[in-house]
Subunit: 484 residues, 2 copies
Amino acid sequence: MSPLPTSAPDDAAAGSNDARLPPSLSRDLRRRLGPSGFIEEPDRLLAYESDALTTIRGVPLAVTLPATRDELCATVRLLYEAGVPFVPRGAGTGLAGGAVARSAVLVVTTRLDRILGVDPAERLAVVEPGVVTDAISAAAAPYGLRYLPDPASASACTIGGNVATNSGGPHCLKHGVTSDHVLALEVVRPDGTTLELDRGESGGLDLAGLFIGSEGTFGIASSITVRLVPRPEAVRTFLALFGGVSDAGRAVTEILEAGVLPVALEIIDGTTIRAVEASVYAAGLPTDTGAALVVECEGSEEEAEEQMSVALAAVQAAGPREVRLAATESDRARVWRARKNAFGALGRLGPDVMLQDAVVPRTELPTLLPRIEEVAERHDLQLANFFHAGDGNLHPNIVFDRRDPDQARRVNAACREILDLCVRAGGTITGEHGVGLDKLKFMPLVFGEPELEAMRSLKRAFDPTGICNPGKVVPSPPSGGGRA
Amino acid sequence: MSPLPTSAPDDAAAGSNDARLPPSLSRDLRRRLGPSGFIEEPDRLLAYESDALTTIRGVPLAVTLPATRDELCATVRLLYEAGVPFVPRGAGTGLAGGAVARSAVLVVTTRLDRILGVDPAERLAVVEPGVVTDAISAAAAPYGLRYLPDPASASACTIGGNVATNSGGPHCLKHGVTSDHVLALEVVRPDGTTLELDRGESGGLDLAGLFIGSEGTFGIASSITVRLVPRPEAVRTFLALFGGVSDAGRAVTEILEAGVLPVALEIIDGTTIRAVEASVYAAGLPTDTGAALVVECEGSEEEAEEQMSVALAAVQAAGPREVRLAATESDRARVWRARKNAFGALGRLGPDVMLQDAVVPRTELPTLLPRIEEVAERHDLQLANFFHAGDGNLHPNIVFDRRDPDQARRVNAACREILDLCVRAGGTITGEHGVGLDKLKFMPLVFGEPELEAMRSLKRAFDPTGICNPGKVVPSPPSGGGRA
């Protein structure tokens, strides 16, 4: 593959893979995991060369797929004893290159997919890391419960990956992200031993909280205890269509200032709408719409109805062209299908999509959205934006063709300008996708060297030999002498 | 003072204080902080020998009271350079001996009491650590906002202490504890330099989350950014009176199973009711009541009213003797005054109170409450219980006279039995007061040695020389060779 537009200059080189798995380790892993648990054939390894951010790649030395907790511990211990670095991976739906293994072995958790227990009285479930996020809610449904965080990829991604990146989702506005819904973890440490981590509510430190969002650099969660919450009695959803994104941004401010906190407040811009409408996920939106705002309220029948009416009144102040209520459950499902497949639909507009994941203070939305569009225009690039507007988490996407080196250079420059704008407005470089490899170079935009060094010291405390997902999340020290 | 009933055998010895402050450090601190910022006179130091848990004491080497951020950094740096350990302290309302300084200098934050800013649009406030918790809500009130966590001592305790212990409070059932309401921190590290910590939502690790609840063992928060939330439109409160605590516990289960999550669900037992009714905080409850349950719902007028009516219907299943609605705001205030002053009122029953802070799965409440009472009866001790029933956080208090060595021994034995019961039922040893010195010996009940060692390694990462609040939170390794 060609070099990567927004990656650091050394990324392409790092993709080349001279290291080899020691033959004795290969033999031990194959013996322990069996033929369905160990992959070393070069052409089969290619399937694991990237996560969902296809612009960052690297072929792993081998792929391990432990199917039991014991196999997981044994795999990590064998790698540790051989001194071979490893990278944890769930379903590979990540968007920051966090699951790319270069000169390292992938430890894939998808076969660890058992729901170990659902306790409706205590409202919790204990699951293995490879359980698909939506499957937790499915298991809880008979008790009127659900697992709340809903990344757009919830039908494919795994809870272990959600823990690694502290995933959000459209419905996390009101009820919080993964970290707010994980009660405890068992983790396999980089040496293959296990630790029971809880949230510090038993006294002591919030070890589980520190692990959540550490992107697989501290170990691998082998069992995850999640909170379940009651399914709402009623859900009300409407779509408001606007001439442009800054009007939609103003509508978000009006709703929040009216004192309503919907469970979801999502904006999709005109370019994205046109891509979605041309796809199988078409939701029947006029293709000359500048922006669509999705508002969803939940609660008892009375609560949902009341919040809805306040939100409907509030959006009027931003001058919508049209407001559409989702009258039926199938209307509602169609709206969400369109939103959740927006990223995929952008594939229609060009061969490559540079997905950003910036955050801005939500009050800055109306000011920043036109400035972000201006950056893309100035670099002659096509911008498609969709975002969790309620918490200011933007996904400005640039559609391009990386085979055109000049275009790739302009994408790189525009991305940095956009993130700079967001950081200078008091925001940050990633809202929910994580740092992985992709955002490493932007970390110094938001963190000082002392803060980065504090992160490195915690990493060393959990992973003294630096064997577990090395080189991710925290950039190396400026001198280049240390270990991230 | 006499030896301490529930403290480790060496606690009394540790209270004796042979160490002295080096004269040059004394001179430097006095010069830097002025006469109102430095205390070394033995009789004045006595005022700082304990926090609100008066059974654990120790006279500090000196007390420093920096009044500015620069003074705070300079104080810590001077202590660090002299190699003299220090203990952070807010208002001293803690209940676990966490702010007791033995052979160490106290760094008291109460003069760092400025509200640095309130941003109503972004719904946050930036405050110094010595700001009294209630003062944040007072500053936010003109904007219709409030700071949510409400420890019973909110009118006296400081936000810095709340961060240290990750404080809860009666209204944290629905909306979460301190950790859920702190957005970012600036902290002074044990060497006097500062770090900006955020919640890992900017990418990277949740450094702020790790610091919250570390009980002053990682450094001292110098500036705290907290979330503000809208004041509710309506609040509805009622009291249900029962024959005994297990009936009240059943009522809690009924309410939660009816799908309502009140903002507060508090139980006060008969012994506590009688103590409160004999005090100036009397709320007019019949003194033959076995237990009172306080239920509070918040939201829009419609929401609060609806939740209330569901909760009222649900408690009927547990057979209350009487249900009283708080019809006016002054009725409501009277109920909460009684609850929040319950601990103080117990002072009427005996010279000493051993306050516990156990947690049990809330579904275990009806089973465990009579068993806890049985333990106290068997040891011939007077138990008074009040607790955050919605999240199973119990405060079983034993009233006693520590001058009676046999009674003190029985208190010690009963406390361990009660905590053992709670831990074996899937609970833990502290819900909100922290570990401090008081719960150190119980940490191995809930954590294995590998988990404790993981905590020690994080402590070392933040505080390599072990100068900051040494000996708290995490017990020393079994060999005694390491450093907590």
